[in-house]
Amino acid sequence: MSATRTVIRQGIIDGLPIFLPAVPFTLVLAIAILESGMLPFVGWSSSPVVYGGAAQLTLITLLGDGVAMAAAVTAALIVNARHLMYSAAMAPTFQRQPGWFRWLGSYFLIDQVFALAIPRINDDPHLFRAYYLSVGLTFWVCWLVFTGAALIMGPVIPEAWGFGFAVPVMFMGLLVTGIDRWHKAAAALIAALATLLAADLPHRAGLLVGAVAGVLAGLILDRRR
């Protein structure tokens, strides 16, 4: 029992500092919701319903700009398509999990939870589940509370301060902690370059091009081992 309690505590300890950079992001989202003209509560409902900051921001900004609903939804789903890869990467470890956790765990599968959980996929299934739910719930509660609070408080931090840059910094941290051999560093570099080359693609599809290029590069490098 105490091992379970330890991983639950570890999940919260790992989750909170990673959530911190999302706070300025909640303010950006709040501004987008308030400027879009939709009811604030409807905009906030995207937090539990979509539960993905980048897709929420894309959807609400485009709807606010008067873009057709089908186009706005398509753009948001392209932004979120990377989760297909997370789902595939998590599938083997979820095979050892009960059915209810496959359905619930899928809902919590955001970037940060994926990055923190992936080093633990070979842990004891019970402890993996406890850690995953701990990180997942920490993020979920924080996201719902902070996106709501940001809407109520309005834009308290001026955008010019550049707090938003904490978000790419946080992802850089998650990137580096996930690298345990040079193949992965090379794959990340290829992914970054491909994303840069594909930067003009509409709907930010460059993200997907880069991600796929990185995975393919990794496979090729691994084969030559």
Binding site: V50, L63, M90, S106, F165, M172, L175, A191, G214
Partner: protein, 103 residues
Amino acid sequence: MSALIAIVITGLGTYFSRAVFIIALANRHIPPQLRLAMEYVGPSVMAALVVTMLVTPEGEVALGAPEGLALLTAALVVWRTRNHLLTIVLAMTVFWSLRAVLG
């Protein structure tokens, strides 16, 4: 009302993208080649996310000295310490300092 519909459709699509392989592959054999490919998902997507955040919606790259050196600081600090909080604090300090100096 249409905003709510758009949010619900996006939510369903997002949940589908997160659940599809976890549910569909639950009781199937996963080929070793696919398992290997999946190891590269994390580094590749995280790197692509960092770059995407440095690109404006118009496709312009916003990467000056403050951003570049702050990201380099983040990479080095997290590599040496594995401490995410320290990483964010130090990288943002570099970012803000350079921005103030370079004006």
